[in-house]
């Protein structure tokens, strides 16, 4: 056994309590054997995932209802989401799922170094994902594409001032990465194999976040450059949708209708009061015709409420996943896992795949609306 494992088993001395002498340190004393422990843990994890699925389904329900009722809002707003960034993030997340599944295999086969590497790759991919997401979010905030009542109606040619949101979002990752760097220096100086194995992936993941930010910025700038030609059309459409506060309803709907080749421009009021609850209802025959007043707080603003809610909760899950993966890296660096005890890797893997699973649905539903 390696020195790492020796220190680890010594560490477990305290709570082994001397009873159950036949129980290894990794087997909780209320389980008969490794397989029972593994199956119990896994069933618990699946039950947790069930609650996660149901939790997300609430948001998907809001999405389905709102899109069903206001398809034109989704067409309008989806144009503001950068499809390329979404696709890249999908790829990154799929790759992280691959490395996570591979990590489970490595744990089962006692490939300790490969396991740490695979977990590190998963953590790095998660960081890239968040980096790209940070660019997406900050870009939208600068344009005023904010949820609900904070939504700022889009005016043609408006590119948004640089307000430093990205720097704001990068603060915490920068601090965390700096701490990891300090830890890495300590690990290198102390010549401790364990600390080196832990610090390496953590620092890499920290750097990956900024790699993701740069990748996102590059692609966003590319889109912007391309947009000067291509966006023209889009912006002229946007210009039609002047904020509803500016009393230009008829003009707005005219522009929009002609954009879409509709024969008659119907000035559509977005809302009526019915049974005391003001809401938006669209006649079935009007479903195909775009609603002129999408560019306002109660329409596009609500889309962005849904967008931020779904992607934000998903991002929180990514961050939670990163924390548990970091914990796994610590355990894996102590070479704790083997074919009898890989439950933690497997269960975190299940969680991670679920996060990927949610994104698989989010990506086409939010980004790919034509």
């Amino acid at each position: 056994m390696t020195a790492i494992q020796e220190t680890h088993t010594a560490h477990h001395d305290d709570h082994a309590d001397g009873h159950h002498h036949d129980h290894p340190s990794w087997l909780a004393h209320h389980f008969d054997d490794a397989e029972q422990q593994f199956d119990s843990g896994k069933l618990g994890m699946w039950l947790f995932l069930v609650t996660e699925v149901l939790f997300f389904s609430g948001m998907f329900c809001a999405y389905a209802l709102y899109r069903n009722r206001n398809p034109e809002v989704f067409e309008f707003c989806s144009a503001f989401l950068n499809e390329k960034l979404g696709a890249i993030n999908t790829g990154v997340l799929l790759f992280s799922s691959l490395t996570m599944a591979w990590a489970v295999r490595a744990a089962q086969l006692r490939q300790h170094k490969l396991l740490v590497g695979m977990l590190g790759a998963t953590l790095g991919c998660a960081a890239i994902f968040l980096g790209v997401k940070a660019v997406e979010y900050s870009h939208k905030w600068e344009l005023g594409l904010l949820p609900g009542k904070f939504y700022v109606a889009q005016v043609g040619g408006h590119h948004g001032a640089h307000k430093g949101y990205l720097e704001m979002l990068c603060t915490v990752p920068a601090i965390v990465t700096a701490l990891f760097a300090v830890y890495a220096i300590y690990a290198w100086a102390s010549k401790s194999l364990f600390h080196q194995r832990v610090a390496g992936p953590l620092l890499t993941a920290g750097i990956c976040f900024f790699g993701g930010v740069m990748l996102g910025q590059y692609l966003e700038a590319q889109e912007e450059a391309k947009g000067h030609a291509g966006h023209h059309e889009h912006h002229s459409m946007v210009q039609g949708h002047v904020d509803h506060d500016s009393h230009e309803h008829a003009a707005a709907s005219d522009t929009h209708a002609s954009d879409h080749g509709a024969a008659a421009a119907k000035p559509t009021s977005p809302a009526i009061e019915m049974g005391g609850s003001p809401d938006v209802y669209i006649a079935s025959e009007e479903l195909a015709t775009p609603n002129a007043n999408v560019n306002q707080k109660s329409m596009a603003g609500l889309f962005f409420s849904i967008y931020y809610c779904m992607t934000g909760v998903h991002a929180v899950h990514i961050i939670g996943g990163m924390i548990v993966i970091a914990w796994l890296i610590v355990k894996a660096s102590r070479e704790e896992f083997h074919e009898q005890y890989f439950g933690p890797v497997d269960n975190v893997g299940l969680y991670w795949h679920l996060v990927d699973f949610i994104w698989i649905y989010l990506f086409p539903l939010l980004y790919l609306i034509t």
Partner: protein
């Protein structure tokens, strides 16, 4: 003694459900992991590609079908459900049934009331869009 080496323990517990060399663990072959990954990438490309065409109503169903195939690959292979205990499969697939019920009934309800909630042009004329929109914003922002 309570903290014997892992080497020792694995031989100790080896007789419990020891199917093959790796006990109850089933390491997935690398080729399978990689092919699932590339299949997922291919389907991502496909869904981006199909989004370029205006398929009308079929579009959402196309992208949902592709997403469901991808989700199936993730669940059955990456999440190992194909080799998992049937109870776990029942648990997770059961939750999907409840999601289907939840979404299905809500949408049925929305569909059922749609006819009643058509607004007509007289209301539109009589009620300036601006104030109506202003009324709507707080209600919908909830």
């Amino acid at each position: 003694m309570a903290h014997t080496t892992t080497e020792h323990n694995s031989t100790n517990n080896g007789h419990h459900g020891d199917h093959g060399h790796h006990g109850f663990s089933h390491p997935m072959p690398v080729w399978m992991l990689l092919s699932v990954f590339f299949a997922l990438l291919f389907l991502t490309g496909l869904t981006v590609f199909q989004a370029q065409f205006d398929l009308g109503n079929a579009e959402i169903w196309m992208s949902l079908t592709i997403a469901t195939i991808k989700a199936g690959l993730v669940i059955f292979f990456f999440m190992h459900l194909l080799w998992d205990k049937p109870l776990n499969a029942i648990v997770i697939l059961g939750s999907l049934i409840f999601v289907a019920l939840f979404l299905g009934f809500t949408l049925m309800d929305a569909e059922g009331y749609r006819e009643k909630l058509i607004f007509n042009s007289t209301i539109k004329e009589s009620q300036p869009g601006q104030t109506a929109a202003a009324n709507t914003a707080p209600a919908m922002a909830k």
